[in-house]
C-alpha cells in the first residue's frame, strides 16, 4: 500500500505543495478567523485527495496502474490510507504549525490573527469531521465510476446532504433548543453554528480527551463503511 501512496505522492506532490502554500498564506494573513481556518483546512485535505484522482484522469494512467501487480482491494485500501494521511497532515499543518507561526509573526502588530488559543477542541473536531465527511462521500464514487462521472455524483450527493441538513436544522430548531454557547457571539447566522453548538455541548459533557476520541472514533466508523462500499464498487469497475 505504501508503494501506491509513494506513486501518488510523486504524481501530486507539486499540487499538494501549492495548496499547502496557499493555506499558509491564508492562515497567517490578519483577517483570518478560526472558523474560516478550520473550513479552509478541511478543504485543503480534500483538495489534496481530489488532485490525485484528477491527475490520474488527466494523464490517463488508470489502465497502466490497473496493469501493475496489485490486487484491487490493495489499491482501494491504499487510497483510504492516503486520505487519512492527508487529513492528518492538513490538520497538523493548520493547527500545529501555521496557527502558532501566524501568532508569532503577528504578535507584535495591532492586528488580531486566528490564534492557537482560539483553536479549541470543537474546531479540531469540526475539522476532522468535515474532512472525513468529504473523503468518505468522494471515495466510493471515485472507485465505482471514473473521475468525471464520480465527481458529478459526489457533487450532487454533497449538495443533497447540505440541503437536507439545512432543512433539518430549520425544522428541528423550532422544537429543539440547543443551549447557546460562546460561538454565538461571533456570527449566529452562519449555518455551521448549529453543529458547533452541539460540539461545544458535547465537549462540556464529555471532557476534552473523550470528546476528541469520540470524534476520531466516529470518523473511523465512517471510513470503514465507505471502504466497504469502495471495495465493492472497485471490484465491479472496468477500465
Amino acid at each position: 500500500m505504501l508503494k501506491i501512496c509513494l506513486k501518488d505522492f510523486l504524481a501530486a506532490r507539486w499540487v499538494w505543495l501549492t495548496a499547502g502554500t496557499i493555506v499558509v498564506l491564508f492562515v497567517i494573513q490578519p483577517f483570518g478567523n478560526i472558523l474560516m481556518v478550520t473550513l479552509f483546512g478541511a478543504i485543503l485535505s480534500f483538495a489534496g485527495l481530489l488532485a490525485v484522482f484528477l491527475l490520474e484522469d488527466r494523464n490517463k494512467t488508470e489502465i497502466f496502474f490497473a496493469s501493475l501487480p496489485l490486487n484491487r482491494s490493495t489499491i482501494v485500501k491504499a487510497r483510504y490510507l492516503l486520505a487519512a494521511a492527508l487529513i492528518t497532515t492538513a490538520g497538523l499543518l493548520v493547527f500545529g504549525v501555521v496557527l502558532p507561526l501566524g501568532e508569532a509573526i503577528l504578535a507584535m502588530t495591532q492586528v488580531r490573527p486566528a490564534t492557537v488559543s482560539s483553536a479549541r477542541p470543537e474546531f479540531i473536531a469540526l475539522f476532522i469531521l468535515l474532512s472525513t465527511l468529504l473523503a468518505v462521500l468522494f471515495l466510493p464514487f471515485q472507485h465505482r465510476f471514473d473521475f468525471g462521472r464520480g465527481t458529478v455524483r459526489f457533487g450532487f450527493t454533497a449538495a443533497g446532504i447540505i440541503a437536507v441538513g439545512a432543512g433539518l436544522e430549520r425544522v428541528t430548531g423550532r422544537w429543539v433548543k440547543i443551549p447557546a454557547t460562546s460561538f454565538d457571539m461571533g456570527n449566529p447566522t452562519l449555518s455551521v453554528m448549529g453543529p458547533l453548538r452541539i460540539l461545544e455541548n458535547l465537549h462540556t459533557n464529555l471532557g476534552t480527551p473523550l470528546f476528541l476520541a469520540a470524534a476520531v472514533g466516529l470518523c473511523a466508523i465512517l471510513f470503514l463503511l465507505a471502504l466497504r462500499l469502495s471495495l465493492a464498487g472497485y471490484a465491479r469497475r472496468e477500465f
Binding site: 494523464n59 488508470e62 496493469s67
Partner: protein, 288 residues
C-alpha cells in the same frame, strides 16, 4: 510445456458488442499477432487478460495460473504496453521508473539502465516532452526491466515511423530468444506480423476466425482470380470470401492446393498475404 497464455470460451458482452467464446493458445517462445479491424474485440481480449475488464464467462490462464484468482502473481509476469502509454505527463522519466520499480520484485535496475541507453532515452526529461516513438520505447523499457515472461502489446506500432517500428520489432524478436517468454501483439498493420509473428489470430465482430501458425496460414490461403465461373455452386465451397469486381471475380480460399487442383487453368491462384486474408474475411462477400 505449459502455454504462456490459454484462453478458453471467453465471453464479454457490452451494449452492441460481444466477445463470443473466444479461445486460443499462445505457446512459450513465440510471438502471436492478434489482428482484426477496429472494434473487432482485440483490446477487450487484452483488457480481459489483464483483468481490467471483468469477463462474463470463460477461463484465462497465464503460465497455468488463473488471471483472476492469482491476479497479483500473474501480473508480475506480464509486461504491458498500451498504444498510447498513460504515464504521469509532468514527471521526468527517472521519477516514473522510480515509482514503478517497487511494484516488481524482479525489477532489474541494470537492465533498465541498459535499455535506456540502447533506446537513447533522456531520463531527466519529462514524459510529456517525448515524441510518440520515444514514449513507446520508454513504456517498453518499463515492461522489459521487470523481467516479464509475457509481453502484451496493444497496437504498439501504430503511429510509429518505419525506423522506430523496425527497431521495436527487432527488440520483440530478441525478447523471445529466451524460450520461456512470449509476446501477444495486437495490431492492424499486417506487415509487422509477416515480419515477426509465429502465430496469427484473426478476430472479427468478437469472434475468432482462426488462430494458427503464420506459416500454415500463408502456405494454405490463397487469392483466386478468375471470371464469373468462380461463382458456380460447385466452386463456392472452396472459398471463404468472394468479391465481384467489374473485370471479374476474386475470392479467398484456405485450401490453396485443392483450389489449384480443381480450378486448374480456369483461374489464377496466388499466395495470400495477411492483408488479403483480413480484407476478405472482414469485408465478407460483396462487390468492389
Amino acid at each position: 510445456m505449459t502455454n504462456a497464455l490459454e484462453i478458453r470460451n471467453l465471453r464479454k458482452t457490452y451494449k452492441g458488442f460481444a466477445l463470443k467464446d473466444v479461445s486460443f493458445d499462445l505457446p512459450q517462445g513465440t510471438i502471436m499477432g492478434l489482428v482484426g479491424p477496429n472494434g473487432a474485440g482485440k483490446t477487450t481480449i487484452i483488457k480481459s487478460i489483464l483483468n481490467i475488464v471483468r469477463r462474463d464467462a470463460g477461463e484465462i490462464l497465464i503460465y497455468g495460473q488463473d488471471n483472476r484468482s492469482e491476479e497479483k502473481a500473474v501480473k508480475t509476469r506480464i509486461g504491458f504496453v498500451h498504444e498510447t502509454p498513460g504515464l504521469v505527463e509532468d514527471a521526468p522519466l527517472k521519477n516514473i521508473a522510480a515509482a514503478v520499480a517497487p511494484f516488481y520484485p524482479s525489477w532489474d535496475a541494470g537492465l533498465f539502465k541498459r535499455l535506456v541507453g540502447e533506446f537513447e532515452l533522456p531520463l531527466e526529461k519529462k514524459f510529456k516532452k517525448l515524441s510518440h516513438g520515444m514514449k513507446m520505447k520508454f513504456a517498453l523499457s518499463l515492461a522489459l526491466a521487470h523481467d516479464a515472461d509475457l509481453l502484451i502489446l496493444d497496437e504498439p506500432t501504430s503511429g510509429l515511423d518505419p525506423v522506430f517500428r523496425r527497431e521495436f520489432l527487432a527488440r520483440l524478436s530478441a525478447f523471445i530468444q529466451d524460450e520461456g517468454k512470449a509476446v501477444l501483439f495486437s495490431t492492424h498493420i499486417t506487415t509487422d506480423l509477416e515480419r515477426i509473428a509465429d502465430f496469427i489470430t484473426l478476430i472479427r465482430d468478437g469472434e475468432i476466425m482462426f488462430s494458427a501458425p503464420k506459416d500454415d496460414i500463408l502456405g494454405s490461403w490463397a487469392v483466386v482470380k478468375g471470371g464469373p465461373e468462380l461463382l458456380r455452386d460447385d466452386y463456392r465451397g472452396l472459398f471463404r470470401g468472394i468479391r465481384k469486381r467489374d473485370f471479374g471475380v476474386q475470392a479467398l480460399t484456405d485450401n490453396a492446393a485443392e483450389t489449384r487442383r480443381r480450378l486448374g487453368r480456369e483461374a489464377v491462384v496466388e499466395n495470400a498475404g495477411l492483408e488479403d486474408i483480413m480484407f476478405y474475411l472482414t469485408k465478407g462477400n460483396g462487390h468492389a
